[in-house]
Subunit: 250 residues, 2 copies
């Protein structure tokens, strides 16, 4: 990732950020190819739901960590909406609730999934690394690491179509998490991208922001590698991780 | 890992800790079976050397983090020897230097390995998680997490024999890292085990110590899963990770 420290124009820098997604975003991962083309077994889908829950459930903590370091009330207010989107409110269920709806639809016990028991250690490590990154790095890097949302609508659209076409559990209710993200992500990323383009005003800051986005693609990719290794091929489930048959809905 | 919070006798608690190793230590991992029985290709051995270096190189940071929280000078002095063992001194090369000797012996450029470039993201995440655990948890948990050393001599003995028997690069010089660990680890673990048995004097502390050792086995296991996934089967090398042919010795 080492490049000449030359400041790019706003347009060229945005193009560089988008290229990171083209080269490294997890829509290219073999597990997603299997999932979206109907090649996953019910247990492989369950393993994905269980492990991805760990990620979903930590996103509000990640955003709260970012919030806790923001001195600008306007920025805080804008960023707070992400926490509300995931955690929901008294009136409105959030993304985590919608994910648990998906869990139930694929035959899993929602309390088991919510307990994050059986999550692959490699998934936990990747998610922890992301939360810590946002807690410790500059605000610019923390916000830049969220820009994988630039690439999310494409994968969500593909996923919705693929799940509805290939899997019996899939219907508008069970996949509502992804529909909602299609509405939420563009609003979030529009703000995040503008912030990064505005604040990465030196070559060094552009480097740091690009590295932060690259790091985030590593996090997403590593989770799918671990999932593939444990539940597809070679199929080595690590000690303590979820095994087919466990955590099923009564 | 949830158990009845009943305080075990010193003997039963030690037996419980040893059982964690019997059930979860990475000597059981398929990658080690391949490595020690001569089934690894030269590039698979290189991938192991590159990724394991990341772990070796962070151990002194982990031990320094523990040291930085110790109020007892005696404990500090005893624990400091671990840092000296790994980082060495002006007179004496340490474990990291010996590991780089192994790297050169398997045909890798030592500067490339020392740069930790090409290390699998999942390896980085696991190692970071371990360092953070030691930085943030209780001293008892931090020390308990080091008790995988109870199980290390067995795997080092097996490894020395397996490498010498099956691989051309292996000789007393190139594998000196493991010989040295055979001398160092027993002294370290004797202290660590006594400390944990003495200080885990409630059911809750015994639980915490056992969970810390279990966590550490997760760290070691996850690194080998990532290695297997990337370089053995299915052989999906993540973006940015080392690829055969790169980082070779001139």
């Amino acid at each position: 990732m080492t490049q000449q420290p030359v400041r790019l124009s706003r347009e060229d820098f945005e193009a560089r950020l988008r290229r990171i997604g083209e080269e490294r975003y997890h829509d290219k991962h073999p597990f997603h190819h299997r999932l979206h083309s109907g090649q996953c077994t019910p247990d492989q889908v369950r393993a994905w739901v269980i492990n991805r829950y760990m990620y979903q459930s930590r996103i509000p903590m990640k955003d709260a960590a970012l919030l806790s370091r923001c001195e600008d009330p306007t920025l805080r207010r804008i960023w707070r909406s992400r926490i509300e989107d995931h955690d929901g409110s008294a009136e409105r269920p959030g993304g985590i609730e919608r994910w648990l709806k998906l869990a139930a639809a694929v035959g899993l016990d929602r309390d088991y999934v919510a307990s994050a028991g059986g999550v692959l250690p490699a998934t936990r490590f990747a998610v922890e690394s992301y939360v810590r990154f946002v807690r410790e790095r500059s605000l610019l890097e923390a916000i830049a690491s969220s820009l994988t949302e630039l690439f999310a609508p494409k994968i969500h659209t593909k996923r919705i179509a693929g799940l509805l076409e290939h899997y019996d559990f899939a219907n508008e209710d069970s996949i509502s998490y992804f529909r909602n993200r299609l509405d939420e992500a563009p609003k979030d990323v529009a703000f995040g991208l503008t912030y990064v383009l505005d604040h990465a005003n030196t070559a060094e800051k552009q480097e740091a922001a690009a590295a932060a986005l690259t790091f985030k693609t590593d996090v997403l990719w590593a989770m799918l590698d671990a999932l593939y290794s444990a539940y597809v091929e070679p199929g080595h489930i690590p000690p303590g991780a979820w095994r087919p048959g466990k955590g099923l809905r009564a």
